[in-house]
């Protein structure tokens, strides 16, 4: 770790980049340009080392062993929970449930909270820009409970039709679940405003922070949300770990959603009693190493500074938009000014998959397709897009290289 984050002015971004061993490679004879960070981020040595250290020194099961290693593993696991809580600005660590990631966090709320509290004709309000992971869990629970789904429309410029919010937030709405940053458009939604309006209308809120948790300062109490879901792997952490933040008084009223060890107080053959949150929602041996790796990732991000990461990434995204605008026949989707760390575009000369295959042959990792946003792609009238998504280890020079490759692709497919 060579970050000089303490100084007001400068982060040495080249030194930061050197923390990521995977980036120092060639792919198909070209230096790797990794622009698929919205799918998953790369991992710094600090995180890889934390995982190795845990497995080489402290590995044991948590919360039950009366031996030294189990104590260490338990301590590290629960410290990781406290670390996530402070990172999100939660009031206590008990408001943090470890999950496999954003999808599982949302499924947990849908199944546990939704299963208990939703009634026929209640409404779950979503938006048209949701990732399938913030759509399908609600479809499933709506089917089971008779609740209905309603959607805030997306305007042509890629922003939510906020003028319609008042008429959509009727008293039947029990929960408003929406993404912080759109994974396909880059739109940054005004979370605090949305949460305040939902609360005023008597609805709970869930924020899908998959694309924001590792990219910008974020505080659940400032945002005013009731739930927030995110994935570790999109913010330098390992795969298979993420968390759900839930306001304590709401988590307290929610029933378990999976049964097993770790979540019970006592078990008889006919009936069991359950622990308090968060352990009530963590049946079975948890992803201990994952949680420890996530805590290491959080330490790493905070040493750089989330405000600096946001500035850096947004500057890259805006630069990419400017450079893409120099290519003929390229349409960039989403907002023009403020945006998350990605650009999504279509080229009239080539389909997104052909562009992606072409780019891959030049060592450039893009994503092509519908980005788990099929209804939105249909609405925007595109079969899918090519997407370049950035993180703080990416560089302007890589964007310049991408523009050259895309220009070559246009000539190739023209």
């Amino acid at each position: 770790m060579h970050v000089s984050a303490r100084s007001e002015s400068a982060v040495d971004w080249n030194a930061v980049r050197a923390d990521f061993p995977i980036l120092q490679q060639e792919v198909r004879g070209h230096p790797l340009i990794y622009f698929d960070n919205a799918a998953t981020s790369q991992k710094p040595r600090a995180v890889i080392d934390a995982l190795r250290h845990y497995y080489e020194h402290d590995n044991a099961n948590v919360h039950r062993g009366l031996h030294e290693l189990s104590s260490r593993a338990t301590e590290a696991y629960e410290s990781a929970r406290a670390r996530v809580a402070s990172y999100l600005g939660a009031a206590t660590a008990d408001e943090i449930v470890f999950t496999r990631g954003t999808s599982e966090s949302i499924n947990l709320v849908a199944q546990s909270w939704g299963g208990k509290f939703l009634r026929a004709d209640d409404v779950i309000l979503l938006t048209e820009m949701e990732h399938h992971s913030n759509l399908v869990p609600w479809q499933l629970i709506a089917e089971r409970t008779g609740a209905r789904l309603r959607f805030v429309p997306v305007r042509d410029d890629g922003t939510l039709a906020l003028d319609q919010l008042a008429s959509l937030l009727t008293e039947e709405v029990k929960l408003f679940s929406f993404t912080h940053v759109s994974n396909s458009l880059g739109t940054i939604n005004p979370v605090a405003e949305l949460c305040a309006k939902a609360r005023a209308a008597g609805a709970l809120t869930l924020v899908d922070a998959a694309q924001s948790a590792g990219h910008m300062p974020l505080d659940v109490r400032e945002l005013g949300c009731d739930f927030l879901a995110f994935s570790g792997h999109k913010m330098c952490g390992p795969t298979g770990i993420g968390a759900l933040y839930g306001r304590a008084e709401i988590l307290d009223r929610m029933p378990p959603w999976q049964g097993g060890g770790e979540m019970i107080v006592s078990v008889a053959l006919e009936k069991s009693t359950f622990k308090k949150p968060p352990h009530r929602f963590e049946a079975g041996t948890p992803n201990i190493a994952g949680a420890i790796g996530l805590a290491a990732a959080i330490d790493y991000l905070e040493r750089i500074g989330r405000d600096r990461i946001f500035e850096h990434d947004e500057a890259l995204a805006l630069y990419a938009m400017k450079r893409l605008g120099e290519l003929p026949d390229v349409r960039v989707l989403g907002p023009r000014d403020r945006r998350g760390a990605l650009v999504s575009f279509v080229m009239s000369t080539a389909h997104p998959h052909d562009v992606t295959t072409f780019a891959d042959q030049h060592g450039l990792a893009l994503r092509g397709g519908h980005h788990c946003n099929q209804p939105l792609m249909r609405k925007l009238g595109v079969p899918g897009t090519a997407r370049a998504s950035f993180y703080f280890y990416n560089q302007r020079e890589e964007i310049d290289a991408m523009i050259d490759i895309l220009g070559e692709a246009q000539r190739f497919f023209a």
Partner: protein, 154 residues
Amino acid sequence: VNTELEELYQEVLLDHAKRPRNYGEIAESAVHVHGDNPSCGDEIHLHVRFAEDGRVDEIKFTGQGCAISQASASLMTTKLKGRSGVEATDLARAFHDLVTTEVTDPPRMLGDLRVMSGVRKFPQRVKCAMLPWRAFEQAMAGNGGASPVSTERI
């Protein structure tokens, strides 16, 4: 541009993608199959009119998607028109081998379809190339309309 890309996107393939042959619909007495590739959004609508003896009398398609899927559909229609059921089945099998296995000497009967051989170096793109052929197999089975085909197992 490297060799693998040039082998994948051969000129004949790009030409079929840009100017698809047999593009359109058949108005009457045709089997219609909608094939799609939900993970990437490729789709084709295949229309086939079979003669009484099972021969492919007329075949057309419409669709949208990547160059591979659309060129494959175009090339397929040019190849299948006039073929008997047995010939068509043989072609479908030979084409599948062409895009999935290392065939050093692809059968002559494939003709222009051999320009698709570069696909086998790109495993993620095999389903693009196979989409129209899956649709055709469905048309042959006579289930057009009843059960659309998809490259994803449901």
